[in-house]
Subunit: 159 residues, 2 copies
């Protein structure tokens, strides 16, 4: 950190802090709890689970509890108007799979993660830790998280 | 605007601009095109329209082209797993209606609008102009818009 040098920088404190504050925001400060389901859950049950948990994205885990797929509200809506029986089709048939899943880590800067959400055109990213047998899911970073961060920046500086 | 006074404020310029920039962000700078459907469209057609336009929220208009309702992906998903026939039920049966619709205006500060998205627990707000016969819809302000604004703040200041 730069040292604070002299009285004539006093007026800079608040505004300087906003820039520093924005740069210092990390995924871990704004992530929320991940909601996971197993690969063999039916699409119908997954939709019910999504409503029960009130989230827009479910993460699918394999038998080792590692990230296997992602289910968005859009994926579930697309399937629900198809001809398949929602009570028999398992989520692994319709989920987005690795290596097509965009994810982030808890120490990633929030700015880079916001860009990833926009570039990958998704509403949510799993926050993961790389383990020997796959990706452990420790959080969920969404456009809601970014919206909260945006508000928090303003509130911290009483804008 | 405050005058820039004297050489010892030079170092403040960039950071001061970030604060001023954040305060000056308006809905009109980040809103996108609204996608509207009529009250009598079927739920099935509305779902198809949502995929075609690739949006998360549709706005429903009355015969005078004024705001009558809002349809989220969540509303459509809930209906799609119900027992009703999606090809016969019109959207006005399931939409959120006035006065329960949260909305904003193009000159509103983006910070206040971000707070409204969080408080009302919605992904999208219609941007409206009040007219004698109702609310004219001129835009759509979403959590994606806020995410873009967050990135834009960082990029403007080369963070």
């Amino acid at each position: 950190a730069r040292p604070r040098v002299g009285y004539f920088y006093a007026g800079k404190k608040n505004t300087g802090a906003l820039t520093e504050n924005m740069l210092s925001l990390k995924v871990k400060d704004f992530m929320s709890m991940p909601i996971v389901v197993s690969e063999n859950m039916t699409v119908y049950d997954a939709i019910c689970h999504m409503f029960l948990e009130d989230v827009g994205t479910l993460f699918v885990i394999d038998k080792n509890m590692r990230l296997a797929g992602v289910l968005s509200r859009k994926d579930l809506l697309r399937t629900s108007i198809g001809s398949q029986d929602l009570n028999t089709i398992p989520v692994h048939i319709i989920m987005t799979r690795m290596p097509n899943i965009a994810y982030c880590e808890k120490g990633d800067p929030l700015i880079a993660t916001a860009k990833k959400l926009i570039e990958r055109e998704v509403d949510s990213l799993p926050v993961i830790i790389e383990q020997d047998n796959g990706l452990e899911i420790i959080g969920r970073l969404t456009k809601t998280s970014i919206t909260r961060a945006f508000i928090s920046l303003a509130e911290t500086h009483e804008l």
